[in-house]
Amino acid sequence: MSTATTVEAQEATYTFSPETLQAVLAPGDAPRRPSWLSASFTFGWRAMLKIKHVPEQLFDVTAFPIMMTLMFTYLFGGALAGSTTEYLQFLLPGIMVMSVVMITMYTGVAVNTDIVKGVFDRFRTLPIWRPSTMVGYLLGDAFRYTVASLVILGVGLILGFRPEGGVVGVAAGIGVLVAFSFAFSWIWTMFGLLLRSEKSVMGVSMMVLFPLTFLSNVFVDPNTMPGWLQAFVDINPISHLVGAVRALMDGGWDTTDMTWVLVSGVLITVVFGALTMRLYNRR
């Protein structure tokens, strides 16, 4: 309430004087247009400001992962591995991947709700590197992915997760996960621009994400699955991401999985990045 009062008091006292505009409009030395990197980071800063002003948006990236970790550890732990702590060593990297990949869909929702606002028109009339607006979103999202990963790690450590890879292995695992999710999010920037409403973005995200995350090696070793399912699980990039992260956190290194992650990450970025920019320029 106090906010409103001060703002209105201010409004009443404003009288325009052309002189004050003189200094502002005097053609000073025009700055050089920013580099692609600087423009992208500026949009990244915007995403961080949004998190600062609307901190509720961090709720999704913390509550959801905590719930997932607790639920699956206690739901499957006893049955699958005999003990929850034992299962946790296997499950945690997987559940981390699953949760973070799941929350990438908020990128699409954010783009979709933002694009209809006038501020986007302003961005699009600036002579800057065009993808920087989108890269800015993804930089902000990378921060959220990191927060989510750390939250899950924290919960895991409390429940008894003891990774062999130590600090370095865990950090490397989170690094790979966040980098892949950054690439993966281009799918959602595309849908965010393509679809009409936030609801449809959510719907499509679910349809893509559920099979991708559940039909993988997150919960169990694929060797126990029927052949046709194994075939899908084996080509699912999420399985390879889980494999790579698991290996790193376990103090190892899996070249095959790592290559898959790298190749699919680059492919997704190129294909969906290009589609995103096409749509962005079309609007």
Binding site: V7, E11, P18, A30, P31, L49, D121, P127
Partner: protein, 328 residues
């Protein structure tokens, strides 16, 4: 260098079956305010968005300071700024953050961006609200911030899409003052509006558009005299006499008579098509009309002589187009 800030030929944009912009030719001289006047759905926003490189035209061509909007969008973007019809600032951020963000994006370094942002906030009387989220701003403050954001990079051409729609008279006056100041420093302004009055006060030339077409173009004076110098507003005591009054007025003034929603009110255009002293002729004609009403035994409660409203300009112009078409 072209002396025209904007030049379009046969500009077309269709959304499905609607031809939102249907062959528009514009020539906007640099350094002036150019008004684009039209009712809801006329295609004003669509024109502006094409010129600002936000929409791809479906046909025709458009140049901004000689640069084609389709082929050289970056050249165009370096010279223009847009204050959209709906707030083009970020509601979640503070005023200061909004301006720093844009200053960074046009290339100021961190310290210079902050300085520039504060300078603009001061000029637009927003220093005390600098740290407040824009969603708490009043409509007038939001507009000022929006315009401030648009002149941050001292553009050569500024698009203002209905900058005063929804503002109270005070805020409207402030926006007008700002527009005048901006132009006096050499920026060209393309202003869209639904109010003839606003275009009249600010613009040196006006294009009237309707259904995606330019139906008239010229200086405010030319436009007004082409549709008649003014309008007579009459209020009767007895609504039953309205039909008779309509007949008297139309015979006496020879123009179009509009029946207002209010059952006792009517408005008649005064053609005033005399040479030179138009205002006097208008007044004489109006006086004659008043006398004629009295002679016909119609009681007039209230009578005023005003400028034609957009409605009236509009009716006149569309009527004439129909007449010309039937003649041809």
């Amino acid at each position: 260098m072209s002396a025209l800030a904007i030049e379009t030929r046969g500009l077309v944009k269709a959304f499905g079956k609607t031809r939102a912009v249907d062959g528009i030719d514009l020539a906007v001289p640099a350094g002036t305010v150019y008004g684009v006047l039209g009712p809801n759905g006329a295609g004003k926003t669509t024109v502006v968005r094409m010129l600002a490189t936000l929409l791809r035209p479906d046909g025709g061509d458009a140049r901004v300071f000689g640069h084609d909007v389709l082929r050289e969008p970056d050249e165009v973007r370096q010279r223009v700024s847009l204050t959209g019809q709906y707030a083009s600032v970020d509601e979640d951020l503070t005023g200061l953050e909004n301006l720093i963000l844009l200053a960074r994006l046009v290339g100021y370094d961190k310290r210079a961006a902050r300085r520039r942002a504060e300078q603009l906030l001061a000029a637009f009387g927003l220093i005390d609200a600098a740290g407040k989220q824009v969603k708490h701003y009043s409509g007038g403050m939001r507009r000022r911030l929006d315009i401030g954001a648009s002149i941050l990079n001292t553009p050569k051409l500024l698009f203002l899409d209905e900058p005063t729609t929804g503002l109270d008279p005070r805020s409207r006056n402030q926006v007008w003052d700002i527009v005048r100041a901006v132009v006096s420093y050499g920026t060209t302004v393309l202003l869209t509006t639904q109010y003839l009055d606003e275009a009249d006060r600010l613009a040196s030339r006006i294009a009237v558009i309707d259904q995606g077409k330019v139906i008239a173009e010229g200086t405010p004076g030319e436009l007004k005299s082409s549709v008649g110098a003014g309008a007579v507003h009459v209020r009767l005591r007895d609504p039953g006499q309205r039909t008779e009054a309509e007949w008297v007025l139309s015979r006496c003034l020879g123009g179009h008579v509009v029946l207002e929603a209010d059952p006792v009110a009517l408005t008649a255009r005064v053609s005033g098509n005399g040479n030179g002293d138009t205002d006097r002729r208008t007044a004489e004609q109006a006086a004659a009309a008043l006398t004629a009403l009295a002679e016909a035994g119609i009681t007039v409660d209230d009578f005023s002589l005003g400028q034609p409203s957009l409605d009236e300009v509009f009716l006149a112009l569309t009527d004439r187009t129909v007449e010309e078409e039937t003649k041809a």
